[in-house]
Amino acid sequence: MAVKVRIPTPLQRLTQGKEEVEGKAGTVIELINDLEAKYPGIAERISEGGKVRRFVNVYVNEEDIRFLQAEQTPVKDGDEVSIVPAIAGGK
């Protein structure tokens, strides 16, 4: 079992169109680095200098990591991680 990571629409280009991928347990920032190894370019879309960008939210099972331990929030096998960037379309 691994960590399930939901990839948002704007980043699916980097995951060969996959909207769900698997990553290694650890901390959120380790998970992002693990994704980068498999899907080059994805880490810098989500984070900058080891910090998650301010217009992107990361949820571990429904909980926003900003209100947990931020990038150091632990993720374990079976957890579901969602990467949710702001979108603005309406027309």
Binding site: F55, R66, V84, A86, A88, K91
Partner: protein, 266 residues
Amino acid sequence: MELTEDQLHRYSRHIILPEVGGKGQKKILNAKVFIVGAGGLGCPVGYYLAAAGVGTIGMIDNDTVELSNLQRQIAHSTKKIGVHKVDSAKETFESLNPDVKVIGIKDRISKDNIKDLIKDYDIVVDGSDNFPTRYLVNDACVMLKKPLVSGAILRFEGQVTTILPGEGHCYRCLFEEMPPPGLVPSCQEAGVLGAITGVVGALQATEVLKLILGKGDVLKNMLLIYDALKVNFRRVKVPKNPDCPVCSDNPTITELQDYDAGYCRI
């Protein structure tokens, strides 16, 4: 105000619901809702609110109907190409339901006009197509304590959240900063499946009606994410940010700003 025979008939499927009844239907008829944008989201939101009998619907949009809008903007039609969207929507909604008055504003929303525009309305709905407008609408609603039902779409994905100033989170608690220009594509660049504007718009209209009726739960402190390809709805928690620049106890943003710098609008 008593409901007329026609109204009892028109709204009979509402009135039969214990959560609505004649009393709730009167609340709907007396409600005033302001919709930002008469496009992909504004059309279904306005359509369902008009059908429900929302008495006053304000709508702002500066665009005219184009052929490429008609794949999703269901209040407009081929013969309305070139007509202002708010005029087109007004005709559609008022012909659907004569109980409804639509006030269309052909302008762009800005820091200078937004407070005047929304001050007499009960609820604001955001169906705009760009980040600067979304942050402006949020800040104005927080300052005037207006409930705001925000929806957004892109490709096969939708997001909906309901902001109750003073009670729950605001859009800035959810996304602290808007992305730099160019990083998140627009629908014009990235596309959108027309029907998902209907899903998201109908969710927004439902949130509005529950707020009017005071029934059920709304998406306060929550973001609903719809993934059409996976047929998946997910709800995530959105706590109020104690350091939010606009809705915290010590806000750093106390005056409205326009945030357009560097942004091009569609």
